[in-house]
Subunit: 257 residues, 2 copies
Amino acid sequence: MKFKIAILGAGNLAWHLAPALEDAGHVITEVYARELSKAYSITERLYSASAKDDLDFSESNAQIYILAVKDSAISELADQIILPEESILVHTSGTIPLEILGYSSASYTGIFYPLQSFTKGRKMDLDEVPFLVESDDESTLQKLKKLAKSLSPLCYQVRSKDRKAIHVAAVFASNFSNHMIRIAEEIMRRQGVDFEMLKPLIIETISKSLQLGAKNAQTGPAIREDYETLEEHHRFLAYNDQIAEIYRLISQDIIDS
Amino acid sequence: MKFKIAILGAGNLAWHLAPALEDAGHVITEVYARELSKAYSITERLYSASAKDDLDFSESNAQIYILAVKDSAISELADQIILPEESILVHTSGTIPLEILGYSSASYTGIFYPLQSFTKGRKMDLDEVPFLVESDDESTLQKLKKLAKSLSPLCYQVRSKDRKAIHVAAVFASNFSNHMIRIAEEIMRRQGVDFEMLKPLIIETISKSLQLGAKNAQTGPAIREDYETLEEHHRFLAYNDQIAEIYRLISQDIIDS
C-alpha cells in the first residue's frame, strides 16, 4: 500500500524520513516549514514535493500528514493546519499524548514515533529504526502499521502510557549513558590523559550489555561491594560535589539491585 | 623480543591472556592457581606450560611473572611468591599501586594493566585492548612496553596517579553507563514492553558519542532544558525514590555542564 504524504517540519527527522519514504515507494506531495528556504532544503532531496510556508492544505492530495517538528510546536501546528476530508494527521513525538491532535481539522489522528536519535547529515538506515504507532481508529492504525513496515521490520503498536514509560527508559539508556561517557571524558581531560584508551572498554561493555543483559554484564567495584575502592574513588571526586554524589548514588543503586 | 612468562591466576584475564601471549611468540612456563584443577583449566589451552599450586618459583625459567588475580589477592601473593634472580613481577590491576609489590622477592616490579572487561569464553581480540604499563625501572618499563606491543598497538605508559583517574573514568564510562541500561531494562519490564525496541537507539547513541564526543552527541529533555518533560518523568518514577533521585541529579548535571 503506497501513500501520498505531506511532511511538516524541516529538521533532523524530516531530513531522514522524507527521502526514505520516497525510497519505499510513497509520494511526498508537500514539505512545510515556517521559512520557505528550510522547506526547500528538504524538497531538493526529493523528486516532486513542493515547498510550503502556509498551513492551508485544503487543496493537497496527501492522505497522511506527518508533524516532524519539536514537541513544543505540535499543538500550535495541529490547531492551525487546514486539512482536506479523510486526512490522517500524526505526530512523531515520544512524549506528547495523542489527544493533543484532537482539536485539529483532521478526520483521523495517530502517532508515528521513530524511536531513534537523528542527526542531519549522518547516515541512518531507517530499516533499523523501531517505529511505535498508535491510533484510536482501527483503520488508521492499520495504515500507520503498513507505513511503518514499508520502512522497517521493527514496528510496535503501543499505548500512550507505554510510550511515556518507553521515553523515560530511553532517557536512561541513551541520554544518561551518554552523560556517563561525558563525565569520563572530563575526568580524563582534567588528568591530561588520552580519552581514546577508554573507547575499546566502552564498546565491549555496551556490546556485552545488549547481548547478556545489563544485570549479567555488570562489573566493577560497586557490584563487587569493594567499599575500599568506592571510598577512594569518592575521595578522588571531591573536587566536584555533584559528580561525587552521582558516583555515590549510582554505586548504591548497583549494590541494591 | 620474546619472553618466558609465568601466569599467576586462572580467572577471566588469565584465560584470555595466556593463549594470546603464546600466539605472540612468548613461552608460558607455568600457570599457578590455588587449586591445581583451575591451573589445568588454563594450561590445557597452552602448548607446554605446567600447572602449579605452590608459590615456589625459585627453579622457574620465567623472566616475567604476571599476577592475573583479583585486587584483594595481589598483596598476599606478592609477599609469598619465591622468585629467582633478575625476575620481573607485575600485577594487572587498574587500582592497586605499584608499591604493593615492593616487599616481594622480585628484582624488578611493574604494572601491566589491560584496560578492558574480560569474560571467560567470550571472544576478545587482545590487539584491540589498550595496555597501560608502569615501572620505576627504565629497563623493566621497556620490556613491559615490548610485551604490550607484541599483543596490541594500544600501549600507554602511565603514572600510578593517572591510572587511578583512568579507573574512576572507566567506572563512569563502563559500569555506570551499563547501569543506566539496567534501569531502562527495569522500566520496560515493569511496563510490560519489549526492551528490544531500545537497542537500536542505544547502539546509535554510543556510536555517536564516540565519534562526535559525548557533549556534542547529547540529546533529550535535560539538554533542551525541557522542564515540563523532566517534571513529568520525575513523577513517573515516584515508585522508586532512588531512581527518581538519580534521574533528577543526572538531569541537573546535564543542564549544568
